[in-house]
Symmetry: D3
Subunit: 136 residues, 6 copies
């Protein structure tokens, strides 16, 4: 078993805000992350798959094909978007790095061939990242 990781990047706006709470409680709980008019990040996404390298190609899954999947399923959907307003994934949950990882796993997992999806790592800033290894 070998693991292969491919990185892609995208930029998006978001806001962490719980509509069931008062403005005050949102400020208390989320601080600047609840600011009304959004803020944004340069996201770095690392997708790790695992499997046996194919004897003909030496690849688990061609890193170029894996890149194509990530670009089509994730970058096209989220790049230069507002996570709260432009996508359907964060209407019932916060667009936190943690939740975003789980969303990305579900979107990419059906398209992994040659191996299986092992980990979604999403870096939000140089100081914060989340990882999801699927339901276990």
């Amino acid at each position: 078993m070998v693991y292969l990781t491919r990185r892609e990047t995208f930029n998006a706006a978001h806001r962490v805000y719980n509509n069931a709470w008062s403005e005050e409680k949102n400020k208390e709980m989320f601080g600047k992350c609840a600011n009304k008019n959004w803020h944004g990040h340069n996201y770095q996404l690392f997708v790790t798959i695992k499997g046996k390298p194919d004897p003909d190609t030496g690849f688990i899954m061609d890193a170029k094909k894996l890149s194509d999947v990530i670009k089509r399923e994730i970058v096209e959907r989220f790049d230069h978007m507002n996570l709260n307003m432009d996508t359907p994934y964060f209407t019932d949950q916060q667009p936190s790095t943690e939740n975003f990882c789980v969303v990305i796993w579900a979107l990419i997992e059906p398209f992994i061939t040659g191996g299986v999806l092992h980990c979604i790592r999403l870096q939000e800033t140089e100081n914060i990242y989340a990882e999801y290894y699927g339901e276990q």
Copy 2:
């Protein structure tokens, strides 16, 4: 003459959109950067000053004091903000990396002591940055 550079970081949302143009022309000129609901970046700001190190301290300007100035004048103003909506600096000009550098220069320059401001470098993504050295 020695140069000292201090880095600080902040996150913000923005949109590049010219109100004098049609929706179509904006899309043609700015592509995804004109998306309606904003996107955002992790900005890295590098402030460079120049001067002679003080014989008593060895510092041009204490890097901690320089950090305090940058945090008070720039990070407090822009961190987790929408550059277009929450600040007065981009109503008559685009919040491009180029223009943002010039805005930052004007905000920081009055507070540099010990030396003089030499350069504002603003990194918008890992692939794009702008620099401004003042009017010359």
Copy 3:
């Protein structure tokens, strides 16, 4: 189960030297790391916790609160300190990256809420880091 990692940085001096050994044996075993008058590093600390994101916040533990814990328990204790002289943790063991990870785990673990501590990763130089996952 999702994993969240927060990075903090600090600078410290240390020396690897075994008092039970001769000067010669220390030099032979530790080389420059045993130099008499200390040397130092810019440490990067990565603290990883795991848990289920809270439905209200989307967070396992608020990254800001996790940052506060790391700053209070680790950065305040070790930043700009001499690990051997200024702290009680390395009188009976070497201030190696490996041992330092275990020390940090014990100091942070009681204050993790929402999830549990998963990993302490400490980067000593760009070429060396250690990780500790607790007693297992």
Copy 4:
């Protein structure tokens, strides 16, 4: 159990090309990676060992000695070499990042002392890396 990782770097040329296939199929499958006259990479190698820190040294294995092993067994063999032409490891398999990890594991594993080899991570570009944890 603590984990220690040491990074080393080297540069090499390679080409991914399956001699059992036609030129057309190689181009279709491997794209530019099959270009006739080679291309190359700055490889970053991360070797992770695990074990209990020695009470006298605080080390699992002295990072300097681990570095010496990696330099002697890997950097000397592969630095400024053509993986396909100058080494015997890729005559029956492709010099993919995945296969290269397995080759490096076998070369380094016999020389790890104090602990055991845990992981070989090989970064081929800033966007691609592979990991191998041995046969399990």
Copy 5:
């Protein structure tokens, strides 16, 4: 005057070898860089232009258009190529980082609009880069 920098990356093989010299002198002068069967690098290219931001766009030159120029003129020409064998630029001069910068300047300069080309910076490894500011 504001400066804008755009980064692009590519991978290539090369060899530094002077045909007018003996094998021994090449080894003595160039060491491993003269190895017969090539080696390679992940090149990072930083192209800096200078000019006045356009009042309508806020851009000196649209970073996307600058990226398109770099990809068409440089990445297409050199990515996954052998600098010595596959390109006409290094038949009468060595493919050193220094010379490569001058070659890239000449290829990109005619296509810069809005501002003028200011600097070509080419990073060959994490430890070596060259810069060229044109004939002055």
Copy 6:
């Protein structure tokens, strides 16, 4: 004229403390940087030379030879040392990043061949660096 930069790294301990001042004034001016028992940094040194590439080699100065000079003159002198106690350069001036740049310039400048020394850049932390271009 082309510029070539070579990076080397070393680790050292230091303390910023003015003996002509009281303990209180030192704390007030230097904060944690004046802590009694030293702290330290992973220094990154970037040495830039400028000149015309030699027609035979394509090099201004062979980057390997430049590396040898930096290692002999700087790394050997300062690596794993206490800047205040183990070196004669900071008895009459503070071991600030600014002053350290000027010291390094004087030590390296006599050994640059093929071109001339252009800049010493010394990175003390990821947030602070100084540059010196010689007396002008």
